[in-house]
């Protein structure tokens, strides 16, 4: 039996200070391969803290986080960086595309640090852009792309290493409703293709696309009732 993609055991994050802030209280969570999970909650509820912990951008103050069955709390910075580059694809609200690089070059950036042979990189990047419907805009600079297209480039960049987990932080936050709907459709397709997706959002409409909904409030995670797939 394959290990779950994500397994949290009493994972918590407290920011030091006076008084200390418990941004995430001890939480247990299992996300299996192929799951499509939405994490919802109001501002300051701990959504971003959970995203950073799941993305290995931050370390927990207690508990364990197993990614693909690997206990990440035992890993050093090198291995955490390697795991992040290979197994996790990020989609940010602000896209975070390099403005002076073409769509293709932005996608290639995700292959730079993970030992992909140079000869294989280009084809993988072109394939990823094809998969998000931007195969015809390989040489376009982000400044010439629409918001929706920029977010698609960002998704292609997240997909190019075929990660175990696609972590999306308010992916439609900077998009109009038409582009937002198209993007959610793309995420649905990717999930159908087998990608495990975790979307962090405060938008119920976005959350409604997920098969599972997890609410977070004051740093406490709770499973919400199963919703029908839109």
């Amino acid at each position: 039996m394959t290990a779950p993609v994500i397994e949290l055991r009493g994972l918590a994050r407290t920011y030091p200070g006076s008084p200390p802030v418990a941004a995430l209280r001890p939480a247990d969570l299992v996300i299996e391969a192929g799951d499509y999970v939405a994490v919802t909650g109001p501002s300051g509820s701990g959504k971003s803290t959970l995203l950073h912990l799941l993305g290995l951008l931050d370390a927990p103050t207690e508990g364990r986080y197993l990614l693909d069955g690997l206990d990440t709390s035992a890993l050093n910075d090198r291995d955490r960086s390697g795991l992040r580059g290979r197994r996790i694809g990020f989609v940010f609200q602000a896209f975070h595309l390099l403005p002076y690089r073409t769509a293709l070059e932005n996608v290639l950036l995700a292959e730079l640090y993970n030992q992909t042979p140079r000869g294989d990189r280009s084809q993988a990047a072109v394939d990823a852009l094809d998969a998000v419907g931007l195969g015809h805009r390989l040489d376009a600079l982000p400044t010439t792309l629409s918001g929706g297209e920029c977010q698609r480039v960002a998704i292609a960049r997240a997909l190019v290493n075929r990660p175990s987990l696609l972590l999306c932080d308010e992916p439609t936050g900077n998009l109009d409703s038409t582009n937002a709907a198209a993007l959610m459709e793309l995420l649905d397709q990717l999930n159908a293709a087998g990608f495990t997706i975790v979307v962090i959002t405060h938008d119920e409409k976005v959350a409604s696309h997920a098969g599972r909904m997890i609410a977070i409030s004051d740093g406490v995670l709770s499973e919400r009732v199963e919703v029908d797939h839109a």
Partner: protein, 423 residues
């Protein structure tokens, strides 16, 4: 389909990838890159140019210097150890009667002769005519000079002829004067055929030659030269001893590069029985002198060039630091896609080093061009020391590397969380 492998991948940034990222970072912001490079361009350019110009200029100065100064040897008569001359008189001069010929036999001598300033009582009158009153007379330096001395002085004749051996040997009352003296005494160089004379306290000296300029001894003074033997007969022996300004001297014009060798031989050749009586003065060793001149100038300009380089380094450091602050979002993104802090540091270091190298290359080209154009305009020979010029671009690399160190460290320490939030 996503992969489901469980091997633990280790992030890596190859040298080739780091170089490619650095080049991309530079060419994608050409304006900023050029401005960042400017400091290094100026620093390295100044470094190459000042060293090249110093070498070129010093080479030229030394060349002129050796022609005029390094071909002159002077020999002064310090007088005998035991003065046996009668009281009130001076001993015979320390140079033999055939001093000119003896000197001419030394290899490297172009011309040599004995001369001394003739000591005259105060109020001695020089007039161009006996009929003129004393008030109209001129004061002129009267010099005794052998025929060889007039040749060694390098007199440029405008009329007549130099003092001859015959006139010297037969103690003729003849003289050479310069054009200023001729004008002052009312003697026309064009009318020497009418045998004009200069009267020194009533003694007539027929003017046989008029000169306009001299390379040695009488370069900047009005002078009247009379034959050495005539001077001995009319005014007696000059007072020996260095420092009294009246001792007999020999002026020796040598060929280029022969001064040192001539100086070593001449005292013994002229006065084998008592060579120490003659004090020889020769110019400094040309190579040593040139080296000193070059060394002083190069040291000064090297400091200036280093200051320029320091300014260049501060420029790169400052711009790279600003770039790091501006690119925190990019740093966060790179961390998110697997970069380790050391990869971030390597990228910024590679960029600043590449900028420094490029600046060094451009600066070296500009420096070399400056030296070559300057030398060509002056019709000089451009001198560029390969020991300084060839490694100059590497100076740019080192400047870029050092200047990028702190910004790279800052970049590496940037938290990916803070960087991603900054957008």
């Amino acid at each position: 389909m996503p992969r489901s492998t469980t091997e633990l991948p280790s992030p890596r940034l190859t040298t080739r990838d780091a170089a490619a990222e650095a080049v991309a970072g530079i060419v994608q912001r050409p304006g900023r890159s050029v401005l960042t490079m400017l400091g290094t361009v100026l620093g390295v350019g100044a470094f190459v140019a000042v060293l090249g110009l110093t070498a070129t200029g010093a080479g030229q100065i030394s060349r002129q210097f050796t022609v005029l100064e390094d071909t002159t040897v002077t020999v002064e008569d310090n007088g005998p150890v035991n003065n046996v001359a009668a009281p009130g008189t001076n001993p015979a001069i320390g140079f033999p009667a055939d001093a000119d010929a003896v000197a001419d036999h030394i290899n490297g001598v172009a011309g040599a002769g004995v001369w001394w300033p003739v000591s005259l009582p105060d109020g001695t009158n020089f007039t161009g005519s006996l009929a003129l009153s004393a008030t109209a007379s001129q004061t002129v330096n009267l010099l005794a000079a052998s025929p060889g001395a007039t040749a060694a002085m390098g007199l440029k004749l405008v009329a007549g002829s130099p003092l001859s051996r015959y006139e010297n040997d037969t103690r003729q009352h003849v003289a050479m004067i310069d054009t200023a003296t001729a004008t002052a005494l009312g003697i026309s160089p064009a009318r020497l055929a009418s045998h004009p004379a200069v009267f020194v306290d009533g003694i007539a000296y027929t003017v046989v030659g008029v000169y306009s300029s001299a390379q040695r001894v009488v370069t900047d003074e009005s002078a009247m030269l009379i034959p050495e033997q005539t001077a001995l007969a009319d005014y007696g022996n000059p007072e020996p001893g260095i420092g009294n300004q009246e001792e007999a001297q020999m002026i020796v014009a040598t060929r280029i590069g022969a001064a040192q060798a001539v100086a070593r031989q001449i005292a013994a050749a002229e006065l084998p029985t008592d060579p120490s009586r003659l004090v020889v003065t020769s110019p400094s060793n040309p190579q040593t002198l040139q080296g000193e001149v070059n060394g002083d100038l190069a040291g000064l300009f090297l400091i200036l060039a280093l200051v320029s380089l320091l300014i260049g380094a501060v420029g790169i450091a400052n711009t790279t630091l600003v770039a790091v602050l501006e690119r925190t979002e990019e740093i966060g993104l790179r961390r998110a896609v697997g970069a380790r802090p050391r990869h971030i540091a390597a990228q910024f270091l590679a960029e600043s080093t590449a900028l420094g190298t490029l600046g060094g290359l451009v600066g070296t080209c500009i420096g070399v061009a400056t030296v070559v154009i300057f030398a060509a305009a002056k019709d000089w020979t451009a001198i560029l020391n390969p020991a300084y010029t060839l490694p100059a671009p590497l100076i740019g690399s080192v400047v870029g590397l050092l200047a990028g160190a702190y910004p790279a460290l800052r970049a590496a320490r940037t938290s990916p969380l803070a960087a991603l939030r900054s957008a």
